[in-house]
């Protein structure tokens, strides 16, 4: 076994799969959008959101979990589940199995989804978060199996289910196996719903293809980070096929809100607050317990979570 996990990824490393800042030195980071320099510690403190232009840089699954969950509360599940390359796939001499090994080494993850249990402001929840650094968070067999097991655990434990997703599209190397994970993950959510447990979906940049056309868009509540690009087909494909110029802001989170596809655009800094408020409402009602020591604001979500 290669030693995937020895090299602990650091937040500030350069990462070709990442639209985050390029680090000119250890102290300053350069915003990928406005190109301004931001003091590195500020950048981390603001959850890798540029304080100047509000650009939400992509997160690794690990960062996401760290930012979202209460400190030390995450218990990861099914870390050993990996794909078995059912097609024995190779493209132009490049073997899928080799690619998986290289990707694992580079990303520090063995698959494009991590799952587990954690707490958000005191509320227990099952969480599944995608790893874009692992083959663009494409949905392969391992992704699907981990997702479904997590949903089944949520049913078993009677916990709400939160997914945080981005994805570049299909895992072509697994062809129809990849496609069928759309049906598999969604079927599991159908069961979750029958048990009256909520699924809250958080869409992050970029979110396309099989993920949006399956579990991520049939949640009870859908939120997206500002500026996140979200759609079925990618903008280049659409331009190429339709030969139409795409309008400004097409497929952004704000565009989806305007077209009725999501419930809320939520800044990263407010996400834990927003989720905890929702978990409060669902937990009280469907999980048969109250957490009256939790004091919520009476006039709803403020513009500034903390």
């Amino acid at each position: 076994m290669p030693d995937f996990f020895r090299r602990k990824p650091t937040f500030n490393r350069e990462n070709a799969d990442n639209d985050g800042p390029v680090v000119p030195d250890g102290l300053w980071v350069k915003c990928a959008k406005c190109k301004d320099l931001v003091y590195s510690k500020d950048f981390e403190r603001w959850f890798r959101v540029c304080p100047k232009c509000d650009h939400h840089a992509r997160l690794t699954a690990k960062q996401r979990v760290e930012y979202l969950l209460d400190s030390g509360s995450f218990e990861e599940w099914d870390r050993g589940i990996v794909t078995s390359d059912p097609l024995n796939f190779s493209a132009n001499g490049d073997r899928y199995s080799d690619k998986l090994r290289q990707t694992a080494e580079k990303s520090g993850q063995r698959e494009s989804l991590i799952t587990g249990k954690g707490r958000i402001r005191g509320y227990d929840a099952v969480i599944a978060a995608t790893e874009f650094g692992f083959l663009g968070a494409s949905m392969g067999s391992a992704f699907g199996e981990k997702f479904v097991r997590a949903v089944e655990q949520a049913i078993e434990l009677r916990l709400p289910f939160i997914s945080v997703s981005n994805s570049g599209g299909a895992r072509m190397h697994e062809s129809t196996f990849s496609l069928m994970q759309m049906a598999k993950t969604t079927a599991a959510l159908s069961r979750l719903g029958e048990h009256k447990l909520p699924h809250i979906s958080i869409l992050t940049d970029p979110c396309y293809g099989g993920v949006t056309a399956s579990y991520a868009m049939v949640a009870d509540i859908i939120m997206a980070e500002p500026g996140a690009m979200i759609g079925f087909a990618g903008p280049r494909v659409i331009e190429q096929i339709t030969r139409q110029k795409l309008p400004d802001g097409f497929q952004t989170a704000e565009f989806l809100l305007e077209h009725g596809m999501i419930d809320k655009v939520c800044r990263r800094s407010e996400l834990a607050e927003a989720l905890s408020l929702l978990l409060l409402h669902y937990t009280d009602a469907t999980m048969g317990r109250r957490q009256p020591d939790y004091v919520y604001v009476s006039n709803g979500l403020g513009e500034d979570g903390s």
């Binding site: 959850f47 030390g72 050993g80 589940i81 493209a91 293809g209 399956s214 991520a216 868009m217 087909a233």
Partner: protein, 292 residues
């Protein structure tokens, strides 16, 4: 055709405009077919045909992607690529079937879902996802048949059925060979190699246990249309009778459980947790939430 026919040849056969399309099957197999229209929301998508009729003496709801047999028809039918309105028309029919306990027969034949601007605006991804959700728990028996091209999520959205069949010269994959070649070979002329690699033939998918049966084409379907359609009808009947028997003998909840397990078990993975234990660093935990 033999099992060793190259995948690329299958792709070309599956796409042949002269090949029988959904309405050919429907008109031959469904008595007293009444086409139903519209999603009751926005439009009536001609890339999806649907309706009610009798299949071997029982009332069923049928639907399918509808390609044209020539360029003009294909322009009218958007080459069988549905928009969200097409998927929502299908969803309406699924719910209609459920309300009246009618079984569902789906004919799958699309290059994929429409990738246009309007489709994105009206929620193509949402529409497909909602169909997957609805089909997973639909309380009536369903049979799907890939009769030509099974293209990606656009095909899946009406094929999550109790039994999934494929014509011998049909194909089913997560992406077209051309798209796959363009991305992984950086050369779309490598489509034949990509077709081979994608394992998209009926034979492949039967071996993977993703489909339940192959409807043989003694001659390619477009050269023996009536026989192929009748043979397809016979195979549908056999499967439909089997799942109707499960539903009536063991109850619909049992059929739903079988359906759930069918899709839940698709996937090729191994659990290497054991052998990893020794070499892993400390298990990953959240090391601090700056916001809490």
């Amino acid at each position: 055709m033999t099992a060793t026919t190259p995948a690329w040849e299958r792709v070309q056969l599956a796409r042949k405009p002269e090949r029988p399309h959904s309405l050919d099957y429907i008109n031959a197999l469904i008595s007293g077919f009444v086409e139903l229209h519209g999603d009751r929301r926005f439009g009536d998508d001609p890339a999806v045909v649907t309706g009610i009729g009798a299949f071997n003496g029982r009332t069923v709801m049928v639907l399918g992607h509808q390609k044209g047999s020539n360029t003009r028809e294909n322009l009218d039918r958007n080459f069988g690529m549905p928009g969200p309105d097409g998927y929502r028309k299908a969803l309406r029919i699924f719910k209609h079937a459920e309300k009246f306990d009618f079984p569902i027969i789906c004919f799958i034949d699309t290059p994929g879902a429409d990738p246009g601007l309007g489709s994105e605006e009206r929620g193509q991804a949402t529409a497909i996802a909602e169909n997957l959700l609805a089909l997973a728990s639909l309380r009536v028996p369903s049979v799907g048949v890939v009769i030509g091209e099974g293209g990606s999520g656009g095909a899946l959205a009406i094929s999550v059925t109790d039994r999934l069949l494929m014509l011998e010269n049909s194909v089913y994959a997560v992406a077209s060979p051309e798209a796959c070649a363009a991305i992984l070979w950086k050369d779309s002329s490598a489509a034949p190699e990509a077709a081979e690699a994608l394992k998209l033939t009926a034979q492949d998918l039967l071996e993977f246990e993703i489909i339940d049966e192959i409807v043989p084409e003694l001659e390619p379907a477009h050269e023996a249309m009536d026989q192929t359609i009748q043979r397809t009808g016979d195979v549908i009947e056999r499967h439909l009778a089997e799942i109707e028997a499960i539903a009536s003998d063991q109850g619909i909840d049992n059929l739903l459980e079988v359906r759930y397990q069918k899709y839940r078990n698709i996937g090729a993975w191994v659990d290497k947790q054991e052998e990893m234990l020794g070499e892993l660093p400390t298990p990953m935990t959240a090391s601090g939430n700056p916001g809490s």
